[in-house]
């Protein structure tokens, strides 16, 4: 027998579960229109695979996962795609978001299914892919894609697999009903999960306020002789919180900012286990779920098995709603759910409960009073936070301080607001602070991106400028080279025709040489005549010749200079 530990705080709100457990799970009617939001899970919205006008079969994949953290969506019934676009979705904002709308044909005609005969023989990767293709997300909480949770990298060794059957929130009985009526589906699902994760221990944590479910599960476990331990924990809200249940069953506190897998633990909800069973053994994708319809404005308060995409209004009609008595419509439980205005929104994979409450049941919240610093909120906080401090920080918009006080460890369980004698809507303050911080982060990310792009552009402009400069330089150089080449050509041509200057010099020197020669020759002649030497005749001749030459040279030079001037 496993020892049961405890977690800090917690509360005991009235359970209000009995109302919806009087009758077995009932099939919800097939609606005329099914509305399937592309974002029903944590991660990226799915990408549609169909177009308006397409005929689809029940179970056919109509949208595929976008990227890693995302989930596929399947047609919950056969019909025609009538619209793809914005529709109101189950979201606290009440805003619209992209959806695929199917006009059902009432035939409920299945597409071809691919059950796995013996999953133990299959490669684990294939098995995970099969689960991913079935569009399974966590059915208990936020809707995290299941295949990712089951596909742990090698560095995570799973010691303990915890199946969350606590269902601690008031009013909700969907898991309880599932356990009572289909314990074997759940157990087979658990076996498949265990096959994938190979944990050394498998625990199912269940609150002691579900004796029938405990009996059903215990009998089934004994019958099949499975190595699964059913751990019954005392009823105390919020024992079904992931970290709280882990603490209850193992005494391990998952550190702030870590996920259970970091300490060797994986948690799965019972509903998810049953969905895995259906996907693997019957080949059916996730197209329906069990939802609790309760609240005193309804005639039939019970659990329904409804197709994903069924509008709330259809479900409310099926449960025989008395709209005159309905004062408030809540999606989820009274502690963690959200009030909604528009009942045209569809059931999605994570919708576990719809409460149509009368005014007596959920009267308007009394006005908030100033905090009296009673400290009651601290005593009940299961995350061991200081709710009062967080409240002051959120109210004073001191988000940085709130974050340092581990605001993001708050699971928004509402225990603090529940006990607050001043009726302060504490969780609203935390949600506000959280979304302000997230928004701030997103903006910073965007600013960083813009800075990068701006700098990249600046760099590009500089580069382009440089390139331009470079090109201009190159062009200039090329032009210079061209000119030089031309000039060189011109030079080689001009060397053929005589340079007038050089010519002139030549003529000048020729003339002066001729004159000097003449001078020397006439002097020699004069000498010879004076001394009476023979051969004067010959000398006379030479002088006459030289005289002629000098005159010619003199003449040529004179002419050249004349032409020059």
């Amino acid at each position: 027998m496993t020892r049961i530990y405890s977690f800090h705080g917690g509360i005991h709100p009235p359970e209000n579960k009995r109302q919806s457990l009087g009758a077995p799970i009932r099939q919800a009617p097939l609606p005329a229109r099914l509305i399937l939001p592309l974002q029903q899970h944590i991660g990226k919205a799915a990408t549609p695979l169909v177009e308006v006008g397409d005929q689809v079969l029940k179970g056919q994949k109509i949208a595929e996962p976008t990227g890693h953290v995302s989930a596929a969506i399947h047609a919950p019934s056969s019909g025609i795609i009538s619209y793809i676009g914005l529709q109101p979705v189950p979201h606290a904002s009440g805003l619209e978001s992209p959806c695929i709308v199917i006009e059902t044909d009432g035939q409920e005609q299945w597409c071809e299914l691919h059950p796995i005969e013996n999953y133990r023989d299959l490669d684990k990767k294939e098995l995970l892919k099969h689960i991913r293709d079935a569009g399974i997300t966590g059915l208990g909480g936020a809707g995290f894609p299941t295949d990712i949770k089951l596909n742990l990298s090698k560095d995570h060794i799973v010691n303990t697999l915890i199946i969350n059957a606590a269902e601690c929130e008031p009013y909700i009985t969907a898991d309880d009903a599932l356990m009572r009526e289909r314990p074997n589906d759940i157990l087979t699902g658990v076996e498949i999960i265990a096959h994938l994760l190979q944990p050394s221990k498998i625990l199912i944590g269940i609150e002691d306020n579900k004796p029938n479910a405990i009996k059903a599960l215990r009998d089934a476990i004994r019958e099949r002789n499975l190595p699964i331990e059913l751990v019954v924990v005392p009823t105390r809200y919020p024992s079904g919180g992931e970290k709280q249940l882990i603490q209850l069953l193992t005494s391990i506190e998952v550190p702030s900012g870590s996920i259970p897998a970091d300490v060797g633990i994986v948690c799965q909800n019972v509903g998810t286990a049953a969905a895995i069973y259906r996907a693997v053994i019957h080949g059916e994708p996730l197209i329906s779920r069990i939802v609790t319809l309760t609240g005193f404005a309804l005639g039939h308060r019970q659990n329904y098995e409804a197709l994903i995409g069924t509008p709330f209004s259809v479900l409310l009609e099926a449960a025989d709603v008395d709209r005159s008595k309905m004062f408030r419509l809540v999606m989820g439980g009274p502690m963690m759910g959200i009030s909604i205005e528009d009942d045209r929104i569809p059931l999605i994979k994570t919708t576990n409960c719809i409460i149509a409450a009368t005014q007596e049941e959920m009267p308007p919240a009394p006005p908030a009073q100033p905090c009296i610093r009673c400290g009651m909120c601290e005593q009940v906080c299961p995350a061991t936070l200081l709710p009062q401090q967080l409240y002051w920080f959120a109210k004073g918009r001191e988000f940085e301080k709130a974050r340092h006080h581990n605001l993001f460890d708050c699971i928004e369980c509402g225990a603090c607001a529940y006990v607050c004698p001043s009726n302060i809507p504490l969780v609203q303050h935390y949600r506000f602070a959280k979304s302000e911080i997230r928004n701030e982060e997103a903006e910073q990310l965007k600013a960083a991106q813009a800075r990068e792009r701006f700098e990249a552009r600046q760099a590009r402009l500089v580069r382009e400028e440089l390139e331009k400069e470079q090109r201009r330089k190159e062009r200039a150089e090329a032009a210079a080279r061209e000119q030089a080449r031309k000039k060189a050509e011109a030079d080689s041509v001009s060397s053929d025709t005589p340079d007038p200057e050089a010519e002139l010099k030549k003529l000048k020197s020729a003339a002066s040489i001729a004159r000097t020669k003449l001078k020397k020759a006439s002097e020699a002649l004069k000498n010879a005549e004076e001394k009476g030497l023979d051969g004067t005749e010959k000398l006379k001749e030479t002088v006459a010749q030289l005289e002629e030459k000098a005159a010619a040279a003199e003449n040529a030079w004179q002419q050249a200079t004349g032409a020059e001037q």
Partner: protein, 199 residues
């Protein structure tokens, strides 16, 4: 006497050793860049709109570090002024109206059938958030647009509108709590009338 001398010697050698270590550290662990400008730039919204009178946020950050006023950035608004005042230990002042007023976040939208593909907007966009080639229709990459307004002016056919950033479930923010009677969180009273067995 020798004692005093040894003391002086020891102190001297210590001084030399530490001086070397400090000098080495100053070189080895030198802080790159201009951290104060980086810090200021980190607080500016990076809209790159130039309303502050500088060609982008970083130049303004440099100007602030050189003593310029901190209230010239309309997209950042009062919160940026407060953050800057906090960082620089200056006084919080209201936004200088001369540079514009704080407006809700916008995103550019090109009416594509009217776009003539002149590429003027591409040249104006400081963050390259517009796609398109010459003589072809242009489109704004919404996720990259900072809403700076700079592409509106140059468009010769006035086909660019600045529209408020649409609110979707993914960027929607929880409002600050008011006394809304429809809050289900103050759970007091809820279900108390229905104690177990009162059915």
């Amino acid at each position: 006497m020798t004692i005093i001398l040894t003391a002086i010697l020891i102190l001297l050698s210590l001084a030399v050793v530490f001086g070397v270590i400090l000098g080495f550290a100053a070189v080895r662990f030198k802080v790159e860049g201009d951290p104060i400008v980086d810090q200021i730039d980190g607080l500016l919204p990076q809209t790159q709109c130039g309303q502050c009178g500088y060609p982008g946020c970083r130049p303004y950050a440099e100007a602030i570090s050189n003593g310029d006023a901190i209230n010239k950035c309309p997209p950042g608004g009062q919160s940026t002024i407060e953050a800057l005042a906090d960082l620089l230990d200056r006084e919080v002042v209201p936004l200088d109206a001369e540079h514009g007023e704080e407006k809700p976040k916008m995103v550019a939208y090109i009416r594509e059938d009217e776009c003539i593909g002149c590429t003027k907007c591409i040249q104006a966009c400081p963050v390259d958030a517009i796609l398109g080639a010459a003589k072809q229709m242009h489109t704004v990459i919404v996720s990259e647009c900072t809403g700076c307004d700079l592409c509106v002016e140059p468009c010769p056919v006035d086909c660019i509108d600045m529209i408020p950033v649409p609110v979707t479930p993914s960027n929607w923010k929880w409002p600050a709590p008011v006394s809304d009677p429809n809050l289900i969180w103050t759970d007091r009273g809820r279900g108390h009338l229905l104690q177990e067995g009162s059915e």
